[in-house]
Amino acid sequence: MTTTTLHVNGSAHTLDIDPDMPLLYALRNHLGLNGAKYGCGLGQCGACTVLLDDKPVFSCLTPCSGMEGRKIRTVESLGSAEQPGPLQQAFIDTQAAQCGYCIAGMIMRAQALLEQEPHPGEEAILAHMAPNLCRCGTHLRILEAIRHVSKDGVKHAG
């Protein structure tokens, strides 16, 4: 075990964990954050997607070592069930979930796109979202939710 400091959702957390621990397990088990999900541990499905310095990464493959000074954001940073952020609200408005297991990862990947390109074209959205899998077939609604926000604009959630 060694001491590792993670900057998550605007706060610094010093944890005594194995440095090779993937970020996913630190977020879930040591910081109590549910947003990032275990899906494959292989970077193939995107259920664990979080933002690292504003870029989407697979937290299941990202070791905690090397996170010093880097900014990590999870879906919890965008808002809460009571006060959802714009993209979360769009997912609620379009009822863009079936089982919902992939949704937090979908939101974080879409958030990264919208922060960089507030009005992405259809092809750009499809290509950007390709790394994330949904098994229920909710893709059409996920796209609709993203389009909602790309029309209204999304605020950088810091």
Partner: protein, 745 residues
């Protein structure tokens, strides 16, 4: 007169509901269809055959609804699998109690609290539980009115309710909680419920937003994976390289000495590790995989010869439909051999469970589809009395059928018994889910059908080979961990779900009017791979085969395929979804672009549930043969719609999921083993492959029975794709998945 299979099944199932449909009692329909379904595979006993829906098996009103000073609690034995059924069931209960949905505490399957409704499967939830709640809630409200009437010496029919308060014309008020003091809710429901004009529905037929979505978009504790109990430990299992392999050597002590490791469970071929921290458990598991030496195991067949193998393995032959004479049609004929490979449920979140053995009681949190059957299986495995095991459903990732949920729960239970007092969380890894979940069976079907001289369907011969689609938990031996123990349990014999629901033969009988049928199922009990229920069971390939045949016979006889279908269907609701789809699509218009094709398909799920017609337009790239789905138009009829947006969501999902199965999916394996241990070895649809346009039409049937929605699309979508690809390329592809093989009939 030609034998009509449609009539035969209606008589057995649904037709008798017709006379009573207007009053929405749903009694006859529910009574007939519930017998012998995948839902009540185990543990449900019919106590009151004349009651509607699941009141048959759980007739007491207080099994469903309790009212006290703490408010109204409504119970269902069904579970939320990600279809939105919890919200829809709440709508029904609130509608008939005439209270706001927010005033109800709504609990789903828990063996300590809720009715036993068997499995949440087969698109039965609204049909069974919704129907029960529709009636029970109205009857409870009526009893409360009568209680108030007795107190006030007023005729209950002049009383009204608003927000769980009963009001007399004089202005007197009594809460439901006060009124319940004068009522015994522990009584059998009655066959007849108070009527409610459809025009008074405020919730049924309206799109109440899903209850669970806000937590799921914001990192709330929404899934079983999110459970954190005090002192909870993390476990991982170590599975053999293949079924029936035996453990030759294993060094428990080396693993025990790893950081954080508290326990190594070694019982016969069963291995698991327990650690304080999840990452430590994963590292111990990986070490365990490295150290364990295995011998033998079941051979893995070659995928290229699996369909031929199915015809040689021990099987029981079940006649499915033998109607009419042996006359062969003198007109056009179509013969085909249609195949599909093994498919995976492919839940995005691998199976997970938490178990806690505390003070003699084992509590298991599980995303199983059936808490009661699972409880019985776990109790048998552990030698515990039933009442010492409690299974509580907690949402997992979508399962689409019998995935690893039950086995993971058995893992957690086994491990928790070794560490009394400590909650144990077991999370399967991706490769464990892919290698150990029960697959959807590879299947082979052979079809031979002909038209008479007037171009009508004369003879229909269909034979199919399948392994089981319903290996649910009827004994401990159906749980993988129980099979691995030093004293292993053996799986109960496989039995197919009977018609009209069907198993591998689900929807094997065409709904079209046919002169004669010879339809048989070869139920292969010696499984090359363990298989069980996945959405629509055999209907996916059976509808694919039937609709390919209809398409070919229409083409050969110079008929438009949609007109040909209508000629052979008498059910007005079947015709309505077809006509709606035809008109909304603008059938048979299509772009003149070479490589573009259109396809149409129709089915009524199980021939007794929801109706679905679909038209699709595809573009097949001439060089690469890559299939792009440009447009999908569908019309569905699931009876009375409870939540229109929820239905639309299910239909959209069915379109996308079935498209993925049909175009891309097959478990990859050969004698060396299964290659599909991750998503690269089992590719599914990704965003860029989505259909460009999807148009869903819902034909509501106010006052008609609920028919269920979650699986109605799988078969028709597959078939419409097949027909469109044939139209685009001039070549009929009969081996699924379509996107991989190019073969001719």
């Amino acid at each position: 007169m030609p034998a009509s299979t449609e009539k035969g099944f209606s008589r057995r199932a649904f037709l008798q509901g017709g006379a009573l449909l207007m009053v929405f009692t749903l009694v006859p329909a529910s009574r007939r269809v519930l017998a012998d379904t995948e839902v009540d595979t185990l543990g449900t006993v019919v106590l009151a055959p004349d009651l509607p829906g699941s009141l048959r098996t759980n007739p007491y009103l207080d099994a469903w609804i309790k009212i006290g000073s703490d408010g109204i609690t409504v119970y269902t034995g069904k579970v939320e699998l990600g279809t939105g059924v919890k919200t829809a069931l709440l709508q029904i209960a609130a509608e008939r109690l005439e209270v706001s949905p927010g005033s109800i505490r709504f609990l789903t399957a828990d063996t300590a609290l809720t009715p036993n409704e068997g499995y949440t499967a087969g698109s039965h939830s609204i049909f069974d539980s919704g129907t029960a709640l529709f009636n029970a809630a109205a009857q409870v409200r009526q009893l409360l009115l009568e209680s108030a009437g007795r107190t006030w010496r007023l005729d209950p029919s002049i009383l009204k309710t608003h927000d769980a308060v009963i009001q007399a014309p004089s202005g007197q008020k009594m809460t439901y909680a006060d009124a319940v003091a004068g009522v015994e809710l522990h009584q059998y429901a009655k066959a007849d419920s108070p009527l409610m004009p459809i025009s008074d529905f405020k919730l049924i037929g309206h799109s109440l937003p899903r209850l669970d979505i806000p937590a799921k978009v914001s990192g709330g504790a929404a899934f079983i994976q999110d459970i954190r109990l005090p002192g909870m430990l993390h476990a991982r299992v170590i599975r053999p390289p293949r079924p029936s392999a035996s453990l030759e050597r294993f060094d428990s002590e080396l693993i025990r000495s790893m950081p954080g490791v508290l326990e190594v469970v070694h019982d016969g071929n069963y291995l698991a590790v327990v650690a304080h921290d999840e990452w430590q458990a994963i590292k111990a598991m990986r070490k365990g995989y490295e150290l364990a030496q295995w011998n033998g195991g079941d051979p893995v067949p070659e995928s290229s010869t699996i369909h031929e193998l199915l015809t040689r393995l021990p099987a029981k032959r079940y006649p499915i439909s033998h109607e009419g004479g042996s006359l062969k049609g003198s007109g056009a004929r179509f013969q085909a051999r249609v195949t599909k490979q093994y498919l995976m449920h492919g839940s995005i979140g691998p199976s997970c469970s938490v178990a806690w053995f505390k003070e003699g009681l084992l509590t298991v949190w599980t995303h199983t589809q059936g808490v009661y059957p699972l409880r019985a299986g776990i109790a048998e495995m552990l030698g515990l009395p039933l009442e010492k095991v409690r299974c509580i459903h907690t949402e997992g990732s979508g399962c689409y059928g019998h995935n690893g949920a039950d086995d993971a729960a058995a893992d957690a239970a086994l491990i928790a018994m070794r560490l009394p007092g400590q909650p144990i969380r077991v999370q399967w890894m991706r490769e464990q889910e892919n290698l150990w979940e029960p697959y959807s069976s590879a299947m082979l079907t052979q079809l031979d059908a002909g038209l008479d001289g007037q171009g009508r369907l004369e003879d229909w011969s269909y034979e199919l080979w399948t392994t089981p689609h319903n290996e649910r938990i009827v004994n401990a031996g159906r749980l993988i961990p129980a099979r691995l123990l030093a004293y292993p349990f053996v799986s109960a014999p496989s039995i197919p779900i009977a018609q009209p629901e069907g198993d591998g033969d689900r929807n094997a009988v065409p709904l079209y009017t046919v002169g004669s049928t010879r339809i048989d199922m070869n139920f292969v009990t010696d499984m090359p791979f363990r298989t069980s229920a996945m959405r629509s069971l055999g209907a996916h390939i059976n509808i694919y085969a039937i609709e390919a045949c209809i398409d070919e016979l229409a083409r050969q006889s110079g008929s438009d395929p949609v007109a040909f279908r209508l000629t052979h269907l008498t059910d007005p609701r079947a015709r309505a979804v077809i006509e709606q789809t035809r008109d909304a699509f603008g059938w048979p218009q299509r772009p003149a672009t070479p490589g573009t094709g259109i396809g149409f398909a129709f089915a009524r799920y199980k021939n007794i549930m929801g109706y679905c017609a679909i038209a699709v337009q595809v573009y097949v790239h001439p060089q690469t043969q890559v299939i792009e789905v440009e447009r999908v138009v569908t019309a569905v009829d699931v009876g009375q719609i409870v939540n229109p947006d929820g239905l639309r969501n299910q239909v959209e999902g069915g379109i996308v999921q079935s498209m993925s199965w049909t175009l891309y999916e097959a478990v990859s394996y050969n004698a060396e083993g299964v290659r599909s241990y991750d998503w690269s070895g089992y590719p599914i649809l990704r965003f860029p492959q989505l259909p460009s346009h999807v148009d869903v039409h819902m034909l509501d049937q106010p006052g008609q029975p609920f028919l269920g929605a979650a699986e109605i699309v799988q078969g028709p979508m597959a078939a419409a794709l097949g027909n469109a690809v044939a139209d685009a390329t001039g070549r009929r592809r009969l081996n699924l998945p379509l996107g991989r093989a190019v073969e001719e009939a």
